[in-house]
Structure formats: structure tokens, C-alpha cells
């Protein structure tokens, strides 16, 4: 560590013309002369472009030749070039924080072009304040921390699966946490995918198996993230593994247990349209392919009796004594891929979902279309299992609706179109209507897909019906609407209505959002750090997002974003150590009275009241807002590079006349 003299540091001041950007308004020579007259300023220069190679190297030379201890540059905004100038100091052997920048372009010459005299006065005032502040600057040492070389992926849908596979195949230890019994997510429930109409599970299932077989992935299914602590490079994640009551090592998924299980309950995977047993496999292709006892419904857990499954199982895989387990895993970065939940169509009361048997959601319809589904892929009316002669699809249910979600859920147009085409394929005679606001087809091959739909004889009706009625005698559903294209009132009587329910953020992300203090958009999705340039980063370093947790999107975009998030998260874990925010808060222990008021204002939980009755600040968690320094009545907390003494010097110097 070098010595920095506090009282009379040698200061160099550089006043920039910025071509004519500054000098056409501010009298640069006058400012330079003024700077030169200030005590402790050993040299002051003018540059045409201080940021140029020439300008930078002149500073570097002066630092050596004139033994400068502080550098003040009066030019553009520090938000532009501060880092570049700091590097000049760094490479010249001066601590980069002994630099101070004066903004005489954005906040002076460009905004006061008509008052050159006062603009020059202002520039002088600002230079004086910067010189005064610079005298009190202190070197700031870089803090670096070792990185845990592992990544946590939260959510085992297609986004999480993709991220985990990319990471694992790049050689990175990856933990994949899924709350359900199997990975696969919503995609596993889909029958086909648009626009190619290939079978969803056919493309998904192999990837699920890859996850199982990938040695670098540790799959934690039927598990929840209950806590996250730490910071970029060093997160500690607490995961709760819920008991399946079936030993995964022993279960061979023969299904004998389910056959004998006396308890029948509604099957969530099939959207409640079929039944399963209390011991069950979520779906045939589930990974891990292990049965599971649903504790709430199991007779044994209810009455203490039964145990038929245990008696039936030849491998003794049933284990009623299993307990929930907590694991603490260390990771360097986190990918959040918690996906979405479907808009609850019951909230849109006018459409009668939940009231009329033949009103379904798009996800219900996926299951009906699926060969594994309740109707084995045959299209039947749920009320009477009759083949429908006509089906209406209603778009924008819960989306683009000020009463619910104002945003467009992105995927519903193409989903309904896909469904309509599947109906036409299976039962060409069925009349199909799609009620829409706008059909949105932006995306590869989607416009073509739409055109294919149009020539299949699907009726596209602009204008949503305000309400769906049921004819109690025939069970027909009645839709009255205004056809906006034709400007006429339409009335259709159909056998079945499918609602294009939109996408909402998954509530399972809530806890993580709160724990990590992630920024959310007003609509509740996790906000990216920058809408264009940092679409997979969050406001918290080392935490990334992929898939519908960020915003509704189709499978190709989900997969692309998942890849990007995987890549971004490697940026952290491929390093051995990473630098930490430097202008953090610190506490003068001798002055802390331990009242703890600072603990309240820290948004990062970086401050803890230690046993000795004084607070401790975790400089890694601290992001350097400085709020605690103000809350502390005795100013025992200070913020590096924004010390009270430095700010006071600035205030005083600005006002000395």
C-alpha cells in the first residue's frame, strides 16, 4: 500500500475543448487559468479532446513527470468516460479513485449556449468544487471474491431444461430444481407445437432424458427453493426436497401399486378431466420416472391403515417414513426459469368457464387433442362426449384487457390457430370460428402458418363476443358479437367454446423475487436489466432469467433465451474470482452505538447487528446506495468515495464566492 498525503496533494487539472462542443460556449482558457490559480493545483492544461489517445497519454505522462497525486478532468459527463480516465490513472500507478470528473459539456456548455459568461463562471465553480473534493479523495482497493463454480437453474420446463443442458455440457456443475414431480413443465402438456405441428413430447422427451443422463446435472425434482443468501459468485441456496414416499432407487415404474390403490382423485396433468390414484406417475414420460404418493389423498396418511401399495410392491419401494429434506447448495450464479401460470379463465365470468361444461381453455383443449389425454385424442364435448359440429375459439382471454392483464400474451393467437387446424384435420366437417382482436403472427414461419389456416376454411371473426350463453335445452353455446369487419351483428350457436387464456407470471417465483430483491415489471414478470442489451440479466448480479418468467413467449424464443441465460451465467462461474462493488458502505466500529436503525434501511440485508452491540456491513452484499450513512445519527457509517467530508468540501467549494 502506498502513502497518500492528505493535506497538500499535487493536483493536475485538464480542461477539455471537446472539439468545439465546450469551447464554443465556455471560455476554456479562462477556466484553465482559474484552475491553475487554485492552491495545490500544480498544473492545468487544455486539450482539444482529452478522451483521445493523445489526451489520455498526456495525463499518463504528467502523472509520472509531475508526480501528480490527483487528476481532475473537466469535460463531458462522468457517465461517459469516467471509467476510461480511471484506467489511465490505474495504468500510471495512481489509484483510479484519485480521479474526479467535472461535467462542463452535458451540464454546462450544451445547456447554456446563450450565456457564455455565466457558463464559464459555472464551469469555474464546478472545477473549484472538484479540486476541493479531489483533495479528500482516498484510494479505494479493489475487492475480489472467489467464485463457486456451479449454477442453479430454477424451474424444469423447457427453459430450465435447455439452460441446464447447455451449462452441463459446457462442463459446469448444474443443479436443476423443479417443484413438480417431473420436469417438462407446460410443454409436456401440449399435444403439438406450432407452426410445424410436430408432437410436443416427441421433441421434449429426449431432452428430458438427456437431463437424467447428464452427469453434470443434479436434478432435484419435487423440490422447492426456500431461501437464497449470498451474492454473485457465492450464493447459498436452501432447497426443500419433498418426500415422495417412494424410493426412487427401487421403483421400476411398473404401476402395480397404482392398480391396487383404492383412492381415485382428479388428475391435474389432464386438467382435471380424468382421474388418477393417490399413488401415481405424473405422466408416462415423466423424468424421473418414479411413482409418488400424494400425501393429502393417501388413505394411509389419512387413517393409518391401507398400505395396499406397499404390500403390492415387489421391490419394497414404498417408504411411508420419508421426511422432507433440506439441502444447502453453493452456486456462483442462478438462472430463473419459473415459467408461467395460465390465466384463470373463471375470472372472466362472462365466458362461463367452470359454469358451462363445454367451455374449455386452450390448455384443456391440448389435453383433449392429446393421444394420452382424457379422450385419447378424439374431439368430444365434455358434457355428453358427442363429437362437436362447431367450435368457437375466443382470443385475448385475460390478455390485452385492462381489467386483467394489459399486455399481449404473445402465444395465444398461434395456439388457437394450431388448435383450429388440428380440428379441421381430425374432423374436416367441423365448423371452426376464431373470434379475435388482431391476429399476431410476428415470428418465423408464423404468417405462413396463418395463411395455411385461412385456406382451411376457418372463419376468422374480428370482434370478441362480450358474453357466452348456454341454451339449457340443447347445451349449445350462443355467441353474439359485432363483426367489426362486416359491421354487422353475428349470432353463432356452437357445440364447444375454447378460450385462449393468457399467460401470467408463475406465483412460484414470488418467493425468489422477494428473497433476491429482483426488480419486477408492473405486470409482475421479472424485469430484465436492460430491455434490449441485457435481456437475460436481472438487476441482481449473477441472477439471470429465461423463458416466460421474463415475459410470455413461444418455445423457440424460450429456448433461445435459455441458451443466452446459460451463456451469461457462465460469465460468472468461468472466472476464478470476481470484483465486487467498490463504493460500499463501511462502519466505524468505535462510533457505532448499535441502535440498528441502519439495518432497517438497507434493501440488501447487508447490515447485521452483531453480538458485540455494533453493526457489521457485508461489503459484498452492499450495493453502495449510502442510505445507511444518512440513517446513522452519528455518521458512524460512511460510503466509500462518497464520504461526508468529500461531499461537504464540494458543497462549501461550490458556494465560496
Amino acid at each position: 500500500m502506498g502513502l497518500v498525503k492528505k493535506r497538500h496533494p499535487r493536483i493536475g487539472v485538464y480542461v477539455c475543448h471537446c472539439g468545439q462542443n465546450i469551447s464554443s460556449v465556455v471560455n476554456v482558457s479562462e477556466v484553465r487559468e482559474y484552475a491553475e490559480s487554485l492552491p495545490n493545483v500544480v498544473l492545468a492544461r487544455e486539450n482539444k479532446y482529452t478522451c483521445s489517445d493523445l489526451g489520455q497519454s498526456s495525463i499518463a505522462k504528467d502523472i509520472k513527470k509531475h508526480e501528480l497525486e490527483r487528476v481532475v478532468v473537466a469535460s463531458c459527463s462522468p457517465r461517459l468516460h469516467e471509467i476510461a480516465f480511471r484506467e489511465v490513472l490505474d495504468s500510471s500507478g495512481l489509484n483510479p479513485y484519485l480521479f474526479e470528473m467535472v461535467n462542463i459539456r452535458e451540464q454546462c456548455s450544451w445547456v447554456h449556449p446563450k450565456d457564455k459568461k455565466r457558463a464559464t463562471e459555472k464551469a469555474k465553480d464546478l472545477v473549484r468544487a472538484a479540486v476541493a473534493r479531489s483533495m479528500l479523495l482516498e484510494p479505494v482497493e479493489k475487492i475480489k471474491k472467489n467464485v463457486t463454480k456451479a449454477v442453479l437453474v430454477i424451474g424444469g420446463g423447457i427453459a430450465g431444461i435447455t439452460s441446464a443442458l447447455y451449462l452441463a455440457r459446457a462442463g459446469i456443475k448444474t443443479y436443476l430444481v423443479e417443484k413438480e414431480a417431473s420436469i417438462g413443465g407446460h410443454m409436456a402438456q401440449l399435444d403439438k407445437t406450432y407452426p410445424t405441428l410436430d408432437c410436443s413430447l416427441c421433441i421434449l422427451s429426449p431432452r428430458m432424458v438427456d437431463v437424467k443422463n447428464e452427469p453434470n446435472i443434479e436434478l432435484l425434482s419435487y423440490s422447492d427453493v426456500v431461501n437464497v443468501e449470498g451474492y454473485v459468485g457465492n450464493f447459498i441456496v436452501r432447497v426443500r426436497k419433498n418426500p415422495r414416499y417412494v424410493d426412487a432407487e427401487k421403483c421400476i415404474s411398473c404401476g402395480a401399486c397404482a392398480e391396487v390403490c383404492p383412492v381415485k382423485v382428479v388428475d391435474e396433468f389432464n386438467q382435471g378431466m380424468t382421474h388418477r390414484k393417490a399413488i401415481h406417475l405424473q405422466f408416462p414420460q415423466a423424468v424421473p420416472n418414479t411413482y409418488l404418493i400424494d400425501r393429502v389423498n393417501c388413505l394411509h396418511f389419512k387413517t393409518g391403515a391401507c398400505q395396499l401399495c406397499a404390500k403390492k410392491c415387489d421391490n419394497n419401494a414404498i417408504d411411508f417414513s420419508q421426511k422432507e429434506e433440506f439441502l444447502d447448495i453453493d452456486v456462483g450464479s442462478i438462472v430463473i426459469a419459473t415459467g408461467f401460470q395460465l390465466f384463470d379463465a373463471k375470472r372472466k365470468k362472462e365466458y362461463g368457464y367452470g359454469r358451462f361444461d363445454n367451455v374449455l381453455t386452450n390448455l384443456d383443449f391440448e389435453r383433449i387433442l392429446s393421444a394420452d389425454g382424457p379422450t385419447r385424442g378424439k374431439i368430444k364435448r365434455p358434457a355428453d362426449s358427442k363429437k362437436p359440429d362447431s367450435i368457437a375459439f375466443i382470443q385475448c382471454v385475460g390478455s390485452r384487457d385492462e381489467n386483467f392483464n394489459a399486455y399481449c400474451s404473445t402465444i395465444c393467437c398461434m395456439t388457437s390457430l394450431k388448435h383450429a387446424m388440428q380440428v379441421k384435420e381430425k374432423n374436416p366437417g367441423t365448423e371452426v370460428y376464431i373470434y379475435f382482436n388482431d391476429i399476431r403472427t410476428s415470428g418465423k414461419d408464423l404468417e405462413e402458418f396463418y395463411k395455411r389456416g385461412r385456406i382451411r376454411g376457418i372463419y376468422f371473426i374480428r370482434g370478441l363476443p362480450p358474453e357466452v350463453f348456454e341454451d339449457p335445452e340443447t347445451g349449445k353455446l350462443i355467441l353474439r358479437s359485432e363483426d367489426l369487419n362486416m359491421s354487422q351483428i353475428l349470432e353463432k350457436r356452437v357445440d364447444m367454446v375454447v378460450l385462449a387464456a393468457g399467460i401470467e407470471p408463475s406465483p412460484s417465483a414470488e418467493k425468489i423475487i422477494r428473497r433476491l430483491h429482483l426488480n419486477q415489471s408492473p405486470d409482475g414478470f421479472i424485469m430484465e436489466a436492460h430491455p434490449k442489451l441485457r435481456p437475460v440479466d436481472t438487476n441482481i448480479a449473477g441472477v439471470y432469467i429465461a423463458g416466460c418468467a421474463q415475459f410470455p413467449k413461444g418455445i423457440p424464443e424460450v429456448v433461445a433465451q435459455a441458451g443466452a441465460a446459460a451463456m451469461a451465467s457462465t460469465e460468472v462461474v468461468l472466472k476464478d474470482e470476481i470484483p465486487i462493488e467498490e463504493t460500499t458502505a463501511f462502519v466505524d466500529e468505535g462510533k457505532c452505538s448499535g441502535c440498528g436503525i441502519c439495518v432497517n434501511v438497507c434493501p440488501y440485508e447487508a447490515i447485521k447487528l452483531a453480538d458485540e452491540g455494533i453493526v457489521e456491513i457485508n461489503e459484498i452484499l452492499c450495493k453502495g446506495c449510502g442510505s445507511c450513512a444518512v440513517a446513522c445519527p452519528s455518521s458512524a457509517i460512511q460510503q466509500t468515495h462518497f464520504l461526508d467530508s468529500q461531499i461537504k468540501a464540494q458543497i462549501k467549494a461550490l458556494l465560496v464566492s
Partner: protein
């Protein structure tokens, strides 16, 4: 009565504490968009409006500032999530205190200016400068010491 004869040609001195992420960036945007405003405000850059201690404001008044401006991110947009909420409370209270002690609360102005509101930043400085011109010099030191 507040310094009547001094008002002519009086140029108020304003110290502005601007948060790095929003207000300072907004002030920069005013520059890049070449939106003019009077040169009365001198900025002090802080990382967050929550770093601004009420005593900085009082000190500025004592040292001769006629007005103090504090700029932070809009509520819900704070780079540090909550900083501006604390700042908001602190300065609501401070305004009342200085008013009670005889300083016009209009001399302390707190505004949330986003990085995209260059025009608004300029408009606020224009307005504030005008307000302070009407109020005249504060001269706190002189008035406290000599009772003028």
C-alpha cells in the same frame, strides 16, 4: 421585505444533489438534447437520493445557497429499490422543519426525474430558478448573525 433592493439582477445559487442513475442521467440527457436552462444550479453527484443527508441541505443553506435541489429516481424505479422512499420521507420532514425555522420551504425542491426526462429536468431548473428569484437571496448567515 426579504432583501428588496437586492432583487434586481439577483442570480440565485442552487446546489443540486443528483442521483447517478436517474436525475444525473436526466440532466445529461437535457445536455445531449440541447435543452436550455439557466446556469444557476451546480450539481453534486451522489449514487442515490438516499445518500443525501438533510444536513447537507442545511449546510448548503448556511454556506450561502439560495436553494437546494434534490433529484432522485421516480418511486418504484430506484436503482437501489428503496432509496428514494427514505429520501422522500426525510425531505418532507426537513421542508416542514426549515419552514418552522423561518426558511421558505420552496427553497428546498425535491423531484423525481428519470434518465429519460431531460426536458423535465430543464423545466424544473427553469422553474426553480424563477421561484428563487422571486424569493430573493436567503443570506442565512447574515440574517442569523446580524438579525437583518
Amino acid at each position: 421585505m426579504e432583501a428588496k433592493n437586492k432583487k434586481d439582477g439577483f442570480e440565485p445559487r442552487i446546489v443540486g444533489f443528483l442521483c447517478n442513475w436517474c436525475s444525473y442521467a436526466g440532466a445529461d440527457l437535457a445536455g445531449t438534447s440541447r435543452i436550455e436552462y439557466p446556469p444557476n444550479l451546480r450539481a453534486v453527484r451522489v449514487m442515490c437520493s438516499s445518500r443525501v443527508n438533510p444536513l447537507f441541505v442545511l449546510k448548503a443553506f448556511q454556506e450561502g445557497a439560495d436553494g437546494v435541489f434534490i433529484g432522485g429516481c421516480h418511486p418504484q424505479d430506484c436503482h437501489y429499490m428503496e432509496g428514494n422512499y427514505y429520501a422522500r420521507r426525510r425531505f418532507m420532514l426537513l421542508k416542514r422543519l426549515i419552514e418552522y425555522m423561518g426558511i421558505n420551504p420552496g427553497r428546498l425542491r425535491v423531484e423525481w426525474v428519470s434518465a429519460s426526462e431531460g426536458d423535465r429536468f430543464a423545466k424544473i431548473v427553469r422553474e426553480f430558478t424563477g421561484d428563487l428569484k422571486r424569493l430573493g437571496p436567503l443570506d442565512l448567515r447574515e440574517r442569523v448573525c446580524d438579525g437583518i
